[in-house]
Each structure stands twice: as structure tokens, then as C-alpha cells.
């Protein structure tokens, strides 16, 4: 329980500056680490603004129960889960309908990137824990889970980068934080593989004209590109570090 925040009158000031000081087309600060968990086969951690999200991957491993295994490819499983203390009002640990829907769309956002056909009859489990939530968690979850898959050594066509654009105070903006999401007019989360030009997650709620929607998607794609660069740098840095460690 928190001291109730007053609803801001304006989300963008006259100088085109947002509540947290960002420009319209600016991402929140992003910090990524990979290989952060000891037991998981792969893991990664992201902070995007005040979001704090941990992803872990187990697999490929024997699918069980067996009748759920798929003869010609790996079965991807995904759980998006929020910690009780990740939001202002304590959340029950029992998965909500929202968490169950997000688990599905996140899985389907990642699946096009994974060579699932390499591991028939196995299961690859992706577990995402939202430790702190501040808007845009599904996109940050896809960004970080994609790195956890790479960290687990699972062959992928490309990393998947995800980012939302939306409309607040009548203007299109990138990467909405919680207040902007709640008080704004529309939100368009997008997951993209820039190399393959493949949109693997696309949702929308609010109200946008078709022209606004097109601009919002383009804006989100630009965000994804930047995030994709960050993902690649993080992976590269990790491999350099491992290489140095090995060569020492």
C-alpha cells in the first residue's frame, strides 16, 4: 500500500518532456545481465526503467508428461509470473488470467526464433519472474527471455527484441511506463526479429486511427532495433569475458 499518487494533469509538458524526463521517442534506461542464475541452463536479468525482470531457461530436456511431447519439434513452455511485492497492491501468488494470457503470447513471440525442430520430443521451459513492474513488462520479458534462451545455448534464428509504442496526451511516444500506460490513450506492444523482419508479438489496446497505428508500429520497431543492439552487445561482452577467463 502506497501513499496514493495524484493523477498527473499532463503526461507531456510544453517542451515535449515526459514525466520521467524522457523525450517522446526515447527508451527508458536499460541494464541487462546474462548468466545470473546458477542452476538454470540459461538466465538473464533486465532492468528497464523501474521494471526488474529475471528469466531462466531449463532444457531441452525430456518432455513430461510424455503424451504432451511433440514428435517433430521441441515443446516450448513459458510462465510469466509476478512476485507478490512487484506491484503497489500486493498480488496473490496464484497466476491470474492476465498472467496466463501473457505466458501464451510471450511463448508465441519467442517460438518463431527458436529452432524447435532440432530437439524433437523435448521440452524447453522458460520461466519469467517479474520482481518489480512499471509498465511494459511483457516486452521487457521477451527481450530478457530471448537472452536467457541464448545463454542456455539453444540455437536461434535471431534474438527477439520487444518494445511498445503508444499514445499519451494525443501524442505518439515510445516505451510507456506504468502511469503513461494507465492514463494514456493506447499501447502497442511489439516483438520483432530485425534480421528476419518478423513481427512475433503484436497486441494493441486503446484507440488509434490506422495512420497512428502505422506510425506507432514504426516507432516501436525503431525501439526494438536499439534494444536488439543492446542484446547483441551484452551477448558479445559475455562471450569475450568467458573467452578471457578460459584463456587466462
Amino acid at each position: 500500500m502506497k501513499v496514493p499518487k495524484k493523477k498527473p494533469k499532463k503526461l507531456i509538458d510544453e517542451k515535449d518532456v515526459r514525466l520521467d524526463g524522457r523525450g517522446l521517442n526515447e527508451l527508458r534506461p536499460i541494464k541487462i545481465e546474462i548468466g545470473v542464475l546458477d542452476n538454470a541452463d540459461g538466465s538473464a536479468y533486465i532492468e528497464q526503467g523501474k521494471n526488474k525482470i529475471l528469466a531462466g531457461v531449463y532444457g531441452p530436456k525430456e518432455a513430461h508428461p510424455k503424451h504432451l511431447s511433440i514428435p517433430d519439434r521441441a515443446r516450448l513452455r513459458c510462465r510469466y509470473h509476478m512476485a507478490p511485492f512487484s506491484v503497489d497492491e500486493r498480488k496473490s501468488p496464484v497466476p491470474s488470467r492476465r498472467e496466463r494470457e501473457l505466458s501464451k503470447v510471450i511463448r508465441q513471440a519467442l517460438e518463431p526464433a527458436v529452432f524447435v525442430e532440432y530437439y524433437p520430443r523435448t521440452s524447453i521451459d522458460i520461466f519469467i519472474e517479474i520482481l518489480q513492474a512499471d509498465g511494459g513488462t511483457r516486452c521487457a520479458a521477451i527481450t530478457v527471455a530471448s537472452l536467457a534462451l541464448a545463454d542456455a545455448g539453444i540455437p536461434m534464428r535471431s534474438l527477439v527484441a520487444a518494445c511498445a509504442a503508444g499514445k499519451i496526451d494525443g501524442r505518439l511516444v515510445l516505451d510507456l511506463m506504468d502511469t503513461e500506460d494507465k492514463e494514456g490513450e493506447a499501447d502497442v506492444p511489439l516483438a520483432w526479429m530485425p534480421n528476419s523482419n518478423a513481427i512475433t508479438l503484436l497486441q494493441m489496446d486503446g484507440s488509434l486511427t490506422i495512420e497512428e497505428f502505422e506510425q506507432a508500429v514504426n516507432m516501436a520497431m525503431e525501439g526494438c532495433k536499439k534494444i536488439h543492439e543492446l542484446q547483441k552487445e551484452t551477448l558479445k561482452a559475455k562471450y569475450v569475458a568467458v573467452k578471457e577467463e578460459v584463456e587466462e
Partner: protein, 265 residues
């Protein structure tokens, strides 16, 4: 039960036809199957509608009750959408708690209603912070032959337009029901249109066998002014930007056609 080989042969056939711009049932790529709509089919419900798209059949009933509002929205009515994939409707539906697919179906329909402001929830407050009207929209899938979302969203729209509310007076803090009914206050008419991608072509209203071979699916809900109010990509595959924009264009056109089935005049 068809043999797996027969299924694969048919799937190949479906995919090849789509590449040629054709469909196994003779439809154009952007054609819906025949749509039948009937309202007021369940008298116990406050509103109801049955929609058939081809062999897909969905029944939606609405109920209205008094209850507590959400603490952060003390003066607004509450909307609750559920979906039941009845085990009647498909050999793959099991009785039990809602599956991931049932939850997604309900939530996509919910977003279309909510984001388009179909229901004027601000008019459903009886006693701020204490009593508001709760509108239940319960989707009942009776036969599954593909494209459940469009059928469910259309039935939900028709059922809500058909919903009547009881009248009441508040006397000394007590709510008394009065004789007579009044229609549910409604502000918009969202319509969901789903397209599937098969062999890089977009098709409207995929039936079950098309859903089994499609790469991915996108549902686009547009409102009466042609604005987009909800969208959901689904399925194992992906779309390109071009495909998404094409899908949006088609969805807007088809939504106008479908809307005329429900909203007269």
C-alpha cells in the same frame, strides 16, 4: 477420426490452394463463411445472441448484478467476460478449469468491448464506492470449426445491444428494484476480424482445417469510426510489417460488413 495421413494430405492441399488464391471450400481469400445471427435466444439472460459462422457456433449470454466497484474506479460499472469451450464443441476440449485458449479468447473479446467503450460503464454506478452494476458477458462455444474470436466478439456485441437492465430507486440507502426495463447504455460497436497467414498469404475467417496449417493469426478489432481498438497476434509464426498493414486494411472493411449484420440502420 480421420487418419493422420489423410489430415496431412488435406493440409498440403489447403496450403497449395491458398498460394493460388483459392480455398478448399470455394471461398475467396477475404470471404467470410455464411453468418447467421439470432438475438434474445435465452430469456433468463439479460441479453443473448447466437452466432453461426459456417459450422462454428457461439452463444453469448449477459447477466447484470449489483456488486462492489474496483477500489480505484469507485464510480464505474464492472465488466466481466468469461469463455467456456464446452466439451460438446470439439473432441479436443476437456471439461475443467479454463484453458489458456479459453482465457485468451475471453480477454481478446473483453479488450474490444472495454477499449472501444462499447458499454458506458460510467452510467452504471448506483452508489459510488459501494454498489455498481456488474455486466457479465459469458461466451459459450457450442461448436468449434475455427475462428472462435470473431464469432464470440460478434455474439457479444449483439447480446450487449440486446441487453435490458432492470430499473431501480435508492431509498434510504437501500436499492429497490422497480418494474420495467431499460436498455444497457451503449456507446460503440466494436467488431473483431481475424486473418490467418498461410504460405505468406492472408486469409479472412480461417476455418478449423486452415487454423491447423496456418503460420500465425491476427485479430484486429475496429470500432464504428474505423479506429483500431484492440489487436492480438497469435500462433507459432510471425507477420511482416506489410502483412500487418494489409491485414488492418482488410479487417476495417470486413468489420463494416459484419457490423451491418448486428447494428441496423
Amino acid at each position: 477420426m480421420k487418419s493422420p495421413i489423410m489430415i496431412r494430405v488435406k493440409q498440403k492441399q489447403i496450403a497449395e490452394l491458398v498460394s493460388l488464391g483459392k480455398r478448399l471450400d470455394g471461398r475467396e481469400l477475404t470471404d467470410y463463411r455464411e453468418i447467421q445471427l439470432e438475438v434474445g435466444v435465452v430469456g433468463r439472460a439479460e441479453g443473448s445472441a447466437r452466432v453461426r459462422i459456417g459450422k462454428t457456433e457461439v452463444l453469448v449470454g449477459t447477466k447484470i448484478a449489483l456488486g462492489a466497484p474496483f477500489p480505484d474506479l469507485p464510480d464505474r460499472g464492472v465488466l466481466t467476460v468469461t469463455a467456456e469451450l464446452t466439451p460438446l464443441a470439439s473432441p479436443t476440449f476437456e471439461p475443467g478449469p479454463p484453458s489458456e485458449d479459453a482465457i485468451e479468447l475471453a480477454r481478446v473479446v473483453d479488450r474490444g468491448i472495454r477499449e472501444s467503450k462499447l458499454i458506458a460503464l460510467e452510467k452504471l454506478c448506483v452508489d459510488p464506492g459501494k454498489n455498481v452494476f456488474i455486466v457479465f458477458v459469458d461466451i459459450y462455444v457450442l461448436n468449434h470449426d475455427g475462428n472462435l474470436i470473431d464469432a464470440s466478439a460478434l455474439a457479444a456485441l449483439a447480446a450487449l445491444l440486446n441487453t435490458k437492465m432492470f430499473k431501480y430507486v435508492v431509498k434510504e440507502g437501500e436499492i429497490k428494484v422497480k418494474p420495467g426495463y431499460t436498455p444497457l447504455p451503449v456507446k460503440n460497436h466494436p467488431v473483431a476480424v481475424t486473418l490467418a497467414k498461410i504460405n505468406d498469404k492472408l486469409i479472412v475467417d480461417p476455418w478449423l482445417e486452415e487454423e491447423q496449417v496456418m503460420d500465425a493469426r491476427i485479430t484486429i478489432t475496429t470500432d464504428k469510426d474505423g479506429n483500431i481498438c484492440a489487436m492480438q497476434k497469435s500462433g507459432y509464426g510471425y507477420f511482416t510489417m506489410q502483412q500487418v498493414l494489409e491485414a488492418v486494411k482488410i479487417a476495417k472493411e470486413k468489420a463494416e460488413e459484419l457490423r451491418k449484420l448486428v447494428v441496423k440502420g
